[in-house]
Subunit: 317 residues, 2 copies
């Protein structure tokens, strides 16, 4: 058994592929998640896309299916109340895939899948203790300690994006205030930009734009725009402070940043590293690496999900 299937379910697009043990993606496909009213329809569409390929590579060579999904629960194999999906409530994701494909299926959330992918094929190779932080539309995280993913007693561990970065701060989609993700996600940095444009007098090319994206802020920073640099400084400060607290809990060898905002390179890494170090308890200072993901953004979702199959003790039905 040398292949596994990795599926990453996103609010808009879902990607899926066939992956070998070395992390090579041998086949890849995409579905528009929003096209499917019911989860069952999505499972059927996935089957239609993947089954010819599974037959081609040989069914008996497949170890199983790994799925990264928003609010995916490792223990239950379910998606539970995922706010960005059409499919509501608690849904037996692993069970449906297992029944249709006759392959063991494991589910976790997207950030945990990315962490496992990074541990098998990326920047965390050989590490037993690290934290994966995904800076995308939201902020996700996966904590690995003693060489194992921390799923927690209920399968929902690792929500660093919903720890409180600023007490009584910005309103979050989760209904609370000041969550890390309201500051350091792609949407969070845009909120910061809009706030700074209102409250600061710094001249900025961003003032010419009707609507600002995180990419616009990056482009402005590349051109030396002072306000854009201030925005990154502020974002890195909030992120660095929160990472310092996370380090005090699991004392990882490294923190790996992944996702859109992580691609801003030094603009996000430099302030984040600076404030992380400034806020660390002395015993942790200068010890924890802050690294970019080594997985290609386009491959990571599939690779991470597929890796679940090779790095799991519980296989769910």
């Amino acid at each position: 058994m040398q292949y596994s299937i990795g599926i990453d379910i996103g609010g808009t697009n879902s990607v899926m592929g066939i992956v070998d043990k070395m992390g090579n993606i041998l086949f890849e496909a995409e579905l528009n998640t929003k096209d499917y009213e019911f989860l069952e329809d999505f499972v059927e569409a996935s089957y239609k896309v993947l089954y010819p390929q599974i037959n081609k590579f040989g069914f008996n060579e497949f170890r199983g299916i790994g799925i990264g999904a928003p609010n995916g629960n490792y223990y239950q194999g379910t998606i539970e109340f995922a706010p960005n999906l059409r499919w509501k409530g608690v849904l037996p994701l692993a069970k449906l895939f297992n029944e249709r494909f006759n392959l063991e299926t494991t589910v976790t959330n997207d950030a945990n899948a990315a962490a496992i992918g990074e541990m098998m094929h990326g920047a965390a190779k050989g590490m037993s203790d690290f934290i994966m932080v995904t800076l995308g539309t939201g902020v996700g995280s996966g904590f690995v300690a003693n060489g194992k993913m921390i799923y927690g007693h209920d399968g929902f561990a690792g929500e660093l994006g919903h720890t409180i970065a600023v007490r009584d701060g910005r309103i979050c989609g989760c209904g609370r205030n000041g969550c890390l993700e309201t500051y350091t996600s792609a949407t969070g940095i845009v909120r910061t930009a809009n706030e700074f444009l209102e409250t600061k007098n710094t001249t900025s090319s961003l003032r010419n734009l009707a609507v600002i994206s995180s990419k616009d802020i990056y482009d402005a920073a590349v051109n030396g725009d002072f306000l854009a640099l201030e925005i990154f400084e502020f974002t890195g400060k909030i992120l660095g402070q929160s990472l310092a607290d996370a380090i005090a809990i699991t004392s990882p060898e490294a923190i790996i940043l992944f996702g859109g905002l992580a691609q801003a390179g030094k603009f996000i890494f430099e302030p984040t590293r600076k404030y992380m170090e400034q806020n660390l308890l002395k015993i942790y200072q200068g010890k924890v690496k802050l690294l970019p993901s080594e997985l290609k953004e386009s491959d990571a979702a599939i690779l991470g999900a597929a890796s679940l199959i090779w790095n799991t003790e519980k296989i769910l039905l």
Copy 2:
């Protein structure tokens, strides 16, 4: 091999004892830590106290020595820069005990030792995912996930007491500001009392005291003193908020409170539970038990340290 030795090194007193696998303490002794200028002298004194007993029970029946010590490092077997000990720098604690006693010796910090004791003999029996929080002179913690203590890559994980509860808050002994331990330790609650006495007009029996201890605040609360109740409410709020963030990281089955302040019972548990729940992300609400330690305060230190020997994969020399 049915016995182990548990040693708890404290800034003022150190306790040590012989423990069987069931957690019965068969012999117990105490040394005044401050009496010993050098760690070597302390090791020798421990040997003089324990060796006759080891011989009595039979040397071959002993599995090893477990030591809980401030800033104790599990991987290195060292104490490193412990601010409350006379012995400065990085000291080879496990090595010295191992050489003198000819017994395998394992070291960790006091809160981790307490967590292991609780897992073997107390409120965390049978749990794979829990957090131990010790509310003493300082605030310590031990995180267990997947049935294993999280030591982190360097052996220093689990410093919840030094996560930032209030940004730019009270000055901490560690040199930073706003650490949880400046609010929810025995000394922290006294700082709160002194602050409230200055800034609030509430009448209180505490106003009659020249110096206030945490016990005084408890006694006043028992008598219905409004200010004392406000002090506990405030302390529980800070603690509950920090616990909610910790839950978002490891999603434990339970959080166990141990130490002097935990003995204030409902006065600390009720506000802590209330604010913890209020601050939890929806998926965690109503799921995480907040429990008092089931270890006797006097036994816990020795039991926890001794348990290290039965719950460890790495034995250090």
